[in-house]
């Protein structure tokens, strides 16, 4: 397939754009593969891409129940950052962020990664101390972080109300390299690039069973027939429990709802990503002009993709409290994604009790930013049958061992972080 480029856009434009071909083939399943990746979202497609591009494993199928990129990849708030506290997490997310920084070039697809800065506001001493601890952890691990005082916040995001709210703003922790990316394009870009390397992307192919013999995976039963493979990687977010149940084991995951919202389109108003510290609210502005915003979980398990009103009201209230100018703007749409929440808020990229079965899961409400890193580490784990050091801590067994990665100290599932 011809590469995408400005020149090609130019020449195709002159020919009435009639020469474009599908961004990826609509592949039909073959009887067997070296690796099957379940889940055609960002994480699954990235896994396939890195299996092919890093490990040279190209006899790979990605099976997707519905459409590419229609799960959380297609319904998140597009934030990319690596501002984590624990080295186990911040090293991983930083690796992901570095992959993001070169993603357009590696995929030959513009995912519109935009490093416009991510600010977490703090409103009291305890929050400030926690921000310092986290930011210093980042800095000591070679990750950019800056402490903003009130003037610094004002300079980055002038319409934030520092003074008049219930909890005045004291400052913020800024990661300048954080930002946003065009979420749909990430899935399409990985699909495009994986397909170009020979990966079969098989949409409308739902897994109905796992073929496990002698404690090892042998393949999958799907709505499009049986597909064999000695290695299977799960990247199915909210469906993880359903699929691991097919393989015969339960996982520490509870599936919850997270709502997201977009406003009507506006001329540039908010230039960075900014997160309220006194309530559940964060916001950025898309290149199209809509304010993309969200808050906390709805508070109970759900696969329904249907948000509740009181949570939405809280998000809007927190928004107006942080930025009183938002009051006269309008919300346009809201939607809800299913979040695979873990007891400690950190993910799994690991082997499973079934040999040859791997998973990247438990991304809670932060899976988007991890996409390339998750795929990269998952691919490594599948290829080597062993985790990379970046994801060595992100096991299912860490709770048995008492090695939780609980960044917020909320405790198991509480509730649900």
């Amino acid at each position: 397939m011809a590469r995408y480029s400005g020149l090609r856009v130019l020449t195709e434009g002159l020919r009435g754009n009639s020469g474009w071909k599908p961004a990826w083939r609509k592949a039909a399943p073959r009887p067997s593969y070296d690796v099957i990746v379940v889940g055609g979202g960002g994480h699954g497609l990235a896994t396939a891409f890195y299996l092919a591009s890093v490990h040279g494993i190209t006899n790979v199928a990605v099976v997707e129940r519905g459409l590419v990129g229609q799960g959380n990849t297609g319904r998140n708030t597009t934030i990319v950052r690596s501002n984590y506290l624990f080295p186990e997490n911040n090293h991983f997310y930083e690796h992901a962020l570095k992959l993001w920084e070169g993603l357009e070039q590696s995929l030959n697809y513009n995912v519109m990664m935009s490093q416009r800065g991510v600010i977490n506001l703090f409103h009291n001493d305890a929050q400030r101390n926690a921000a310092l601890r986290r930011g210093n952890s980042m800095r000591l691990n070679g990750i950019d972080a800056e402490l903003l005082d009130r003037d610094g916040v004002k300079a980055m995001c002038p319409i934030v109300d520092l003074d008049n709210g219930r909890y005045p703003v004291m400052g913020g922790l800024l990661q300048r390299r954080g930002g946003t990316a065009r979420h749909d394009a990430v899935a399409w870009g990985f699909a495009h690039a994986a397909d170009a390397r020979g990966v079969d992307i098989i949409e409308h192919c739902e897994v109905t069973g796992m073929i496990v013999e002698g404690g090892a995976i042998q393949g999958l039963r799907t709505t499009r027939g049986e597909i064999r493979a000695p290695k299977v990687g799960l990247a199915v977010a909210g469906s993880t429990s359903t699929l691991t149940a097919m393989a015969g084991f339960d996982v520490p995951i509870e599936t919850h709802l997270l709502q997201a919202f977009v406003s009507e389109g506006l001329k540039p108003l908010i230039d960075c990503v900014v997160t309220f510290g006194a309530g559940h609210f964060y916001v950025s502005q898309s290149d199209k002009g809509g304010l993309v915003f969200g808050g906390g979980l709805d508070g109970y398990p759900s696969y329904g993709q249907r948000g509740t009103l009181p949570t939405a009201e809280h998000v809007y209230a927190a928004g107006v409290s942080m930025i009183p100018a938002l009051g006269r703007l309008r919300g346009l749409r809201s939607w809800a994604g299913v979040m695979d929440m873990t007891p400690d808020g950190s993910p799994y990229i690991c082997k499973t009790p079934v040999r040859g079965l791997y998973m990247t899961a438990g991304w809670c409400y932060g899976g988007f930013k991890a996409t390339p890193g998750s795929g990269w580490c998952h691919a490594w784990t599948i290829a080597k049958d062993a985790p990379h050091r970046l994801n060595a801590a992100h096991t299912l067994d860490r709770f048995r061992e008492g090695r939780m990665l609980d960044e917020r100290g909320n405790g198991p599932f509480f509730w649900a972080q």
């Binding site: 459409l67 697809y109 101390n129 310092l132 002038p158 709210g165 009201e313 061992e401 609980d406 405790g411």
Partner: protein, 977 residues
């Protein structure tokens, strides 16, 4: 100033009531009953906006919420509202509106040059380019795109208006007050049910307002509803979302039709409505036809043109062409002709129909088998090109300044779909209609039942059925309007392919070609095509052209429209105001302020406040002469160390635990033992979570064999109560224990310092407070300053200290008595900052150490864990990761240079390796300099060594000495003195 397009009579505007307004700085006049759009049309204003991508000139396209083009910035200054649909903005005197999304003027927008680049700006072009060089995206390409994108400008100033929430319950909720909704409400109301009717418009009647023949029925029905005490009608109220279990959200525009809200009136109110049954009567939206140039100012949906003529008395054009695919749209030609518009022709792809005959009889030129192949004009329509259906070629042209189009009607199924109702394709209406829904009944046009009479009948049936389902007995029949049925079944014409931009989404400039390009590139599923092209993602959410785009896609896929379907409907039915959704709990009211009973005492002392959860606590009490905050804090702390201080500790959680199994229960929820605690004694307790991490700490007192008084930290009061209740309910339902939160009943103050006993002795009555009689950890009920109180000999500061708890209403009285009794001893009130200083000196852990990540062992409290018996957290605390000796341990820290500050949040570097962090830091008053507590790997072994407190965020590296956390009075002699 003349409204030259206003008809002399007719409609629902009050011609005697003139309202002045401005658009783009020019003054105009309209009438009460106008929208901004109808008033602009009355004044002959055609060009009202620019499109999103190509900045094409656009005019008013509709007469309702579905408007894609006529978006304006309404009002000015802090009240500026971008993207306001002129078609639903109710006119008021002094209204001020500005067109948006152009550079230069609306008429000469130099961004319109982007239209020339259209061949290269097709769907998704940006995914394939702007990638080289990598750094140019953020610096060059993206800023360019961002500036060009977006619609209106936000005010960027705090919104001066107020909003509020409101709650309602009803038996039957009717959404929409057109023929179907009014009939439904009346039928339901007659059963005695509690009925609410929501109408987004400022007038009731919907399409009834477009035909004077229905006025009698409309007004009669409204009067009948008004006479029913159980019926509430809310105008200007839009149901935006249908949530689980028949709960709907609606926004009432209380004051948007006024220059500004009157006193005690919010601008808008957001309603949460819980209904037993719901009737949706939300009508239908007319859809466009995709043909080249279908976007010029002067092109309008046929039904809208009729609405302007009949409801607003406005002639939307002088010479009009109708391009329609069904009979019902012909009413528009008749309506406009009545108002004096010349109908230049009717273009219809069909060969024959009843309406065609009628039109010909009325003298109109009807071009059967024809389609519009293009339009002529720039900022206003000048002519319409016509060709034969299917020929693909352009034929002749008719001059016209108005082109009315109708490709059929789409039931407004948004709310029904949100309610989980499956949609089914109706082959005669060529639209999706709601199927059977568990939560709602769709009546009238939104259910695919068109025509006033039929819709009203359908509504009455739905209203009656809803009331019956809600438990009421059906009443008498409802009178229904007489009306001939118009045929709404369209000919399947979605697009006229004739070269040129044929828009399916006007706002976002998505063309039929864009949809085909998406298909060519594999984005053939409707969800993919939508995202790839941004089709139906504008503020109108595809109400006018969404299905047309789907049909174009279906054509490209060579499949029926039904199998292509529509993207999933999500909230909101139409855009809603952020402020309304937020309601009143914003700004200072975002969360309530919790005040202790001593709040006014602190205020009188000039306290500086700090937030602790909901609480306001006194941080410190500045005095003239204090150089800075630290000076105040140290002065207060020194008073405690040297003399005596008093501190409000009312915010600590307090729980009365009582019952025959109270002691057993406490033994299970605390890591240490309470069943052995003597009556009249307190004990420090440590509570773990089930995962073995420390949850909370506090002192618990035994007041009787079965009575305990538990205290929690301020922050964890709520979670601890829930934790206790949960385990009583789930794990040990056999235990007979009651829990009562008495946090608010008891105010408490700590009196601490070497002279505390003297002060206490002066205020306490009936209790010997001598050390022997009332030793450390003693507790007794007594009288303090004449009020019943409870005295605790406990200390957080490391000094001799007492805590007085008293019923909250007496706290001020006791505080004053203590201050008076303490005056000779040099008593000073001390705040939370000094409290923190004192406890850090003493090495007591608090929230920064008990942060949900530390074990008892980590905190040096491992010995508190009882060896025998079950308790929460016992088992999992023994996991290897939590008993690993390499885990960071609590240590004390002291800045080697007493003048160099150390801070909580700094990391502890040993030989350059990150080995821990500082949890708390302060200045010491015992041994001046900066000290702190921290968590450090191999902490115990490193006591005495010198390491570095690194704070790269602030560019600090401070040498610190590791010391024992309990350096101050390690033997507790002062506490026990």
């Amino acid at each position: 100033m003349t409204q030259r397009h206003r008809l002399a009579a007719g409609g629902h505007v009050d011609r005697a009531h003139r309202l002045g307004f401005t658009f783009d700085g020019r003054r105009y006049e309209g009438h009460a009953g106008d929208t901004l759009a109808s008033a602009l049309l009355a004044n002959g204003v055609r060009l009202v906006g620019r499109s999103f991508k190509y900045h094409r000139p656009r005019g008013i396209y509709s007469a309702g919420v579905e408007e894609p083009n006529a978006l304006v910035e309404l009002r000015s200054g802090a009240r500026r509202e971008p993207n306001t649909r002129a078609t639903v903005a109710e006119l008021f005197d002094g209204l001020d509106a500005t067109s948006q999304n152009h550079r230069g003027s609306l008429a000469f927008d130099w961004m319109a040059v982007s239209g020339l680049l259209a061949p290269w700006l097709g769907a998704g072009f940006y995914y394939k380019t702007f990638m080289w060089p990598a750094a140019f995206w953020e610096r060059l390409y993206e800023p360019m795109i961002r500036k060009a994108a977006g619609l209106g400008r936000a005010a960027a100033l705090p919104d001066p208006d107020r909003y509020e929430a409101a709650h309602a319950h009803c038996d039957v909720l009717v959404v929409g007050a057109g023929a179907a909704g009014l009939a439904a409400a009346r039928a339901a109301g007659m059963t005695g049910a509690r009925v609410m009717v929501l109408e987004q418009d400022f007038l009731l009647g919907g399409d009834l307002l477009n035909d004077a023949a229905h006025d009698a029925w409309r007004t009669g029905t409204i009067a009948a509803l008004a006479a029913m005490p159980g019926v509430t009608i809310m105008r200007r109220t839009m149901a935006f979302g249908f949530y689980d279990q028949k709960v709907l959200g609606a926004v009432e525009q209380v004051a948007d039709h006024l220059p500004e809200p009157p006193p005690h009136t919010p601008r808008q109110r957001s309603w949460t409505i819980r209904a037993k049954e719901v009737v949706l009567a939300t009508g239908a939206h007319e859809r466009l036809i995709a043909f080249p140039g279908n976007d010029r100012p002067g092109i309008m949906l046929a039904g809208a043109a009729r609405t302007y003529a009949r409801r607003y008395g406005v002639r939307a054009g002088e010479t009009a062409v109708l391009f329609a695919t069904h009979d019902a749209a012909y009413e528009s030609a008749f309506a406009l002709a009545e108002g004096g518009t010349r109908i230049a022709g009717i273009i219809d792809p069909r060969t024959d129909s009843v309406a065609m005959q009628r039109a010909r009889e009325a003298g109109f030129t009807v071009r059967a088998g024809s389609v519009v192949t293009g339009t002529i004009g720039g900022k206003a329509l000048r002519g319409v090109e016509i060709g034969a259906l299917g020929s693909g070629s352009r034929g002749d042209a008719l001059p016209a300044d108005l082109l009315m189009i109708s490709g059929g009607w789409n039931p407004a199924v948004h709310l029904a779909s949100m309610a989980g109702t499956p949609l089914r394709w109706d082959d005669s209406l060529l639209a999706f209609v709601p199927g059977e829904g568990a939560w709602q009944r769709s009546a009238g046009a939104c259910g695919g039942v068109h025509g006033t009479g039929a819709a009203a009948r359908d509504g009455a049936e739905a209203g009656r059925a809803a009331a019956v389902a809600a438990g009421f007995v059906a009443g008498a029949d409802v009178p229904l309007p007489e009306a001939p049925a118009a045929d709404h079944r369209p000919f399947a014409l979605w697009e006229v392919k004739a070269g040129g931009k044929a828009f399916v989404d006007l706002q976002d400039d998505v063309t039929a070609n864009d949809i085909r390009l998406a298909h060519r590139e594999g984005f053939s599923h409707i969800e993919h095509a939508k995202r790839y092209t941004t089709h139906a993602m504008g503020t109108d959410q595809g109400k006018v052209g969404g299905l047309v785009g789907a049909a174009v896609l279906a054509d490209a896929r060579r499949e029926p429209v039904a199998s292509v379907g529509l993207p999933r409907y999500r909230p909101y039915a139409a855009p809603i105001t952020w402020g309304a959704m937020a309601g009143g709990e914003v700004g200072q009211n975002f969360q309530p302020v919790r005040r202790t009973a001593l709040h006014s005492e602190h205020d009188a002392l000039g306290a500086v406040w700090m937030d602790a959860g909901l609480w306001k606590r006194a941080a410190y009490y500045p005095r003239p002469g204090d150089a800075d905050a630290w000076a105040s804090v140290k002065r207060e702390a020194r008073a405690v160390r040297e003399r005596v201080g008093v501190c409000d500790v009312s915010t600590l959680g307090k729980i009365a635990v009582e019952g025959p199994d109270a002691a057993t229960f406490l033994d299970r929820v605390y890591a240490n033992t309470f069943s052995t605690l003597p009556i009249g004694r307190a004990r420090y307790g440590l509570m773990l979570r089930e995962d073995g991490i420390v949850f909370d700490d506090g002192t618990t007192t035994r007041l009787g064999p079965d009575r305990f008084f538990v205290t929690t930290t301020t922050a964890q009061a709520g979670p601890v109560m829930q934790h206790l209740e949960f385990h009583l309910a789930s794990a040990w339902p056999d235990l007979d224990v009651s829990l009562a939160s008495v946090t608010d009943q008891w105010a408490a103050m700590s009196v601490a310092g070497p002279r505390a006993r003297a002060v206490i002795a002066a205020v306490v009555q009936g209790l010997d407070v001598a050390n022997e009689a009332f030793p450390f950890m003693a507790v007794a009920d007594c009288v303090v300053a004449g009020v019943p109180a409870r005295l605790f000999r406990i200390s957080f500061s490391g000094e001799l200290a007492y805590e007085i708890a008293m019923p909250a209403g007496y706290a001020g009285h006791v505080w004053k008595a203590v201050m008076e009794a303490g005056a000779p001893h040099g008593i000073e009130p001390y705040g939370v900052e000094a409290l923190g200083l004192l406890r850090i000196e003493k090495g007591h852990v608090a929230g920064s150490e008990i942060n949900g990540q530390t074990t008892a062992q980590d905190l040096g409290l491992g010995r508190m864990l009882k060896k025998k018996g079950d308790f929460i957290g016992r088992v999992l605390a023994q996991r290897p990761g939590l008993t690993d000796p390499a885990r960071p341990r609590l240590v004390g820290l002291r800045s080697v240079d007493p003048n160099r500050q150390i801070r909580a949040g700094s990391h502890l570097l040993v030989d350059g390796q990150d080995q821990g962090w500082i949890t708390s830091a302060t200045q010491s008053v015992v041994d001046p300099g900066w000290i702190g507590l921290g968590m450090l790997r191999d902490g115990d072994a490193r006591i005495g060594s010198e390491i570095v407190a690194a704070n790269p965020l602030m560019g600090e590296e401070v040498p610190v000495k590791v010391v024992t956390p309990h350096g101050y009075d390690a033997e507790n002699l002062r506490v026990r003195a």
